[in-house]
């Protein structure tokens, strides 16, 4: 931290808050509010004379509330920058600090918040985590029994710079504990609170146990655990060392802790699974290994930076395996526990990786993106005519679209990832995606259904999963009937409901919509958008008189070649089981309603031409175009 502070190209804005972030990769504009310290940083020498005379004592958050701090103070001894700050929530304005500061004259009660804007090329989010508050677990008695503490509190108690100068004591009587029980998985791996594994608690529990054992060799230390997870280099050896030192590992999750009302000793009840018997362990001190949870303001940060969050609430990476450092927004990178619980080596690795990823951006004058981006035709967009619409905005998983009534919607090209979700969502055909325009897709559809459409299965496949799954079926030589015809789109969200209807208008026998599994979507939420959209279409199709089994939705991953082959085989069998005449009559019956719905397409001459159906194209030689 000190190195960073001294670096000529690093500026640390402490005691500041990011208010807003605009722009895109290479051109972010970040609004930062620097809170008033009421101390002039350049004049403060960090001597601490002011804190010594300050009469106000408040709980010290850095010391987990185990020690006091003054109303004018630094967060901790190693704070960078070493500039004192007045906490105005507690200051009584006695001005003793002003006198103590004397000729240095660093204290300035008139300071106000400073707002500044920074022009940056890349952003790294490294906002860390918070510790789970175990007071919500009544059976462990945290907050009720004085001798039940969290691992973070223990960290302060055994720290030589901590409130007890490194001497471990029991909160109830200040006595050195003769025994200690550590309980793992408090608030994590627990569906009532957080389902995920916090990952690093096993190692810090073992570390604390070894540290305590070295400090007080006579101390009886027991660790209650469900599983000990030591998957990194040297970790298992460390675990073995703890066992060699005489630390007792008890395989069982404690059900409750009770307290002796007189001695404040604690009784931990758990089933020792190796014995299959319930154990009641009397101990002087209980340490809870509390879960790592997302910071309380993670939702706020995710809104400001257009970041998405994983089910546990941590910031989501672009791809769990291939792009674990990038956020879904280009130019914003993630580092450390803000992205998910991780220990120090993993945080350092991700931090270094994020810096390298950001350097790629900063060292380039131009940034290449895929050419498949979406763009808005301002002449067609109804928002430009003052009509309140904005349907495209929530369809974009990247926040690339802005729409103000009175102006046409605008796609920031640098933010667009080319999923096409907005294109299919626009009810006025005002947005198009390069290389995946409506004209291009409908032209494919027309050619694929030119001959005997009632015998064909038209399959819409997303590029990343289902299309790759179909390829997998081919390269793996899985056999399936030759009735299917595929149209590849970037994301299932690009598939317009009207494409499916157009297929039926052209007499298709079956239509398949396929995309990624919900958790695999390449475009964060594209699959969900598609799933919702086509659930609605299922009902509409039935109302049009088309048998529901003729439209199928399947989520097929890139590895599921076997599933692709199976789905096509099943659909082909279903199709053969249906009466040909019935298919023709269903299509005939639905045609007028579909025509009415597709009227808007005909506004474009190219589309009108594509939609014309020649006499040779339909079974029974009917003339369709009227």
């Amino acid at each position: 931290m000190v190195d960073a502070a001294r670096h000529p190209k690093v500026e640390i804005l402490s005691y500041s808050e990011v208010e807003r972030v605009d722009g895109y990769i290479g051109n972010f504009l970040v609004g930062v509010a620097q809170k008033p310290r009421y101390v002039i940083a350049d004049q403060c020498t960090g001597c601490g004379d002011c804190a010594r005379v300050c009469p106000i004592e408040i709980p010290n958050a850095f010391e987990m509330g185990l020690a006091p701090r003054k109303a004018i103070d630094v967060p901790h001894g190693q704070a960078v920058p070493l500039v004192y700050t007045i906490d105005m929530d507690h200051c009584i304005q006695c001005f003793k600090c002003v006198t103590a500061c004397g000729h240095r004259d660093a204290i300035d009660f008139s300071q106000e918040a400073q707002y500044s804007e920074l022009d940056v090329g890349a952003i790294i989010v490294a906002t860390g985590f918070e510790s789970f508050d175990p007071t919500v677990i009544p059976e462990y008695g945290y907050g009720v029994y004085p001798n039940v503490i969290t691992a973070m509190e223990l960290e302060r108690l055994d720290n030589s710079a901590g409130p007890t100068v490194g001497r471990l004591v029991r909160p109830s009587d200040g006595r050195e504990p003769a025994s200690m029980a550590i309980i793992q998985c408090v608030g994590s791996r627990d569906k009532r609170y957080n389902e995920y594994c916090s990952g690093f608690c096993c190692m810090y529990a073992i570390k604390n146990a070894i540290l305590m054992k070295q400090m007080i060799p006579s101390m009886e230390i027991s660790i209650f655990y469900m599983d000990i997870r030591t998957p990194s280099k040297g970790y298992e050896e460390f675990y073995n060392q703890a066992r060699k030192m005489g630390i007792r590992f008890i395989h069982g999750r404690p059900s409750q802790i009770t307290q002796d009302p007189v001695t404040h000793n604690l009784f931990v009840e758990a089933e020792d699974q190796e014995l299959g018997q319930v154990l009641e362990l009397e101990t002087d001190l209980v340490v809870l290994s509390a879960a790592a949870i997302p910071r309380a303001d993670a939702a706020d940060v995710s809104t400001k930076l257009t970041l998405s969050r994983s089910p546990g609430g941590f910031f989501m990476e672009y791809h769990p395996k291939l792009r674990p450092v990038d956020s879904p927004t280009d130019g914003i990178f993630l580092a450390g526990a803000a992205q998910g619980p991780k220990d120090i080596p993993a945080s350092v690795s991700q931090g270094s990786a994020a810096a390298a990823r950001a350097a790629r951006v900063l060292s380039s004058d131009t940034w290449e993106i895929e050419p498949i981006i979406a763009s808005v035709d301002p002449d067609v967009c109804v928002s430009a005519k003052g009509i309140k619409c904005g349907l495209c905005v929530p369809a974009c998983p990247y926040g690339a679209i802005s729409c103000v009534t009175g102006e046409a919607a605008h796609v920031t090209s640098a933010k667009c990832h080319g999923c096409g979700g907005c294109v299919a969502e626009c009810p006025h055909s005002a947005i198009s995606q390069h290389h995946f325009t409506d004209v291009q897709i409908v032209a494919q559809l027309r050619e694929l259904l030119r001959d005997n459409p009632e015998e064909k299965i038209l399959a819409f496949m997303c590029h990343w999963c289902s299309s790759a799954g179909a390829d997998m079926a081919g390269t793996s030589h899985f056999e399936y009937p030759a009735d299917s015809r595929g149209i590849r789109v970037m994301c299932s969200a690009r598939t317009d409901q009207d494409f499916v209807l157009e297929a039926f208008r052209r007499g298709a026998g079956m239509v398949l919509l396929s995309g990624c599994h919900p958790q695999d979507c390449h475009y964060i939420t594209g699959q969900q958008v598609a799933a919702k959209r086509f659930d609605r279409l299922q009902d509409q199709i039935q109302r049009l008189g088309i048998s529901p089994e003729r439209f199928r939705i399947e989520w097929i991953s890139a590895a599921e070649g076997e599933k692709y082959a199976r789905v096509i085989t099943e659909m082909s069998e279903t199709l053969k089981g249906l009466d040909r005449e019935q298919i023709l009559s269903e299509n005939r019956g639905a045609r007028d309603a579909i025509e009415r719905r597709l009227r808007r397409w005909k506004a474009s001459p190219q589309m009108a031409e594509l939609m014309a159906v020649g006499a040779d194209e339909l079974p029974g030689g009917e003339e369709l175009d009227r």
Binding site: S255, Q259, V262, E269, V278
Partner: protein
């Protein structure tokens, strides 16, 4: 050794197919339920985790024929603590359903109705927390009458119906009125004289056997017994019969303390609630008759209140102060 060839892999599906049994495989054997469960104190062989585990790997015969599957009283103390949110008593119920289907029956005692005394008033059917009692037409002395019938498969032997029955027609092994009376008066305790002025008041404590969690606490309370304290443990505070309380007051006890489980921790779903209600009613009767409501008291002992009972007894003794004898 368990041989896979002797296992029934279909048993798992069978349990999971019954509503309530579907979460069986979520269990990762952490043992929280086993350490929470109070049944083990009276039956150390009972371990809900092991039952789930055995069912999970398909030990069909062993699970269905075991007596342990009938011991869970569905108190659901473990349910809110399970990190996998498995409703264990529901899984147990699913397993029992299969056992009953296969012709197994619970081994323990269940409440019995004396058809000659039963008036068919249906007070017991409403009192039973498990819906184990129903009224059925029975021919008694040539006449068709509706009398109570207990389903032994669902009866958990809490004894609430025994206390509720106004005609004394229901009995339950080990907690019959006569048996309780014997325990109350053993060693001539009931015939003992109330202490003269300034002496220690004599307290009879009916204690729910589930309200204290540790064996050490029980031993401590039992060791406290002397002329001024008699402890009678009951399966549930709902088993307390007001007639027995009045009898104790009339026969030499200065006060009666009823100890039940904490709110929401009752081993028999709503036994604590019934016990508390009965004592409240009795207190107002005692107040109206001039005997004084302080003579009877109901206290709840929560699971986490370790070692609190001696203080609660002392508190009642202090409140009784200088007791007056019940006349008659």
């Amino acid at each position: 050794m368990i041989r896979s060839s002797e296992l029934d892999p279909g048993f798992l599906q069978e349990v999971m197919a019954i509503p309530g049994g579907e979460n069986l495989l979520h269990c990762w054997s952490c043992g929280t339920c086993a350490a929470t469960c109070l049944v083990r104190r009276y039956d150390p062989s009972f371990n809900p985790r092991l039952i789930l585990r055995k069912a999970g790997i398909g030990m069909r015969q062993e699970v269905l024929s075991s007596r342990e599957i009938w011991l869970c009283s569905a108190c659901d103390a473990c349910y809110p603590r399970c990190p996998q949110e498995i409703h264990i008593s529901e899984v147990m119920r699913a397993i029992r359903t299969i056992a009953i289907r296969d012709g197994y029956a619970p081994p323990g005692p269940s409440a019995e109705v004396d058809s000659a005394l039963c008036s068919g008033c249906a007070v017991c059917t409403r009192a039973c927390p498990y819906g184990a009692i129903d009224r059925v037409p029975v021919i008694v002395d040539g006449l068709e009458r509706m009398i109570a019938q207990v389903d032994p498969n669902t009866c958990m032997a809490c004894g609430i119906c025994v206390a509720a029955c106004p005609s004394g027609s229901i009995s339950l092994e080990a907690v019959r009125n006569e048996e309780l009376l014997t325990r109350m008066s053993a060693g001539g305790w009931l015939a003992g004289q109330s202490q003269p002025e300034g002496g220690k008041p004599r307290i009879l404590a009916f204690v729910c056997q589930w309200s204290m969690r540790s064996d050490a606490e029980w031993a401590e309370v039992e060791a406290m017994q002397d002329d001024s304290l008699r402890v009678v443990n009951l399966p549930c505070s709902g088993r307390v019969d007001p007639a027995l309380v009045l009898l104790a007051l009339a026969e030499g006890a200065d006060g009666v303390l009823v100890v039940g489980c904490g709110e929401g921790e009752c081993h028999y779903k709503r036994g604590t609630y019934l016990g508390r209600g009965k004592v409240a009613l009795l207190r107002s009767v005692l107040e109206q008759t001039g005997i004084g409501m302080e003579r009877v008291r109901f206290v709840e002992l929560e699971a986490l209140q370790r070692g609190a009972l001696p203080a609660l007894i002392a508190d009642m003794a202090a409140a009784l102060g200088q007791p007056a004898r019940v006349s008659g």
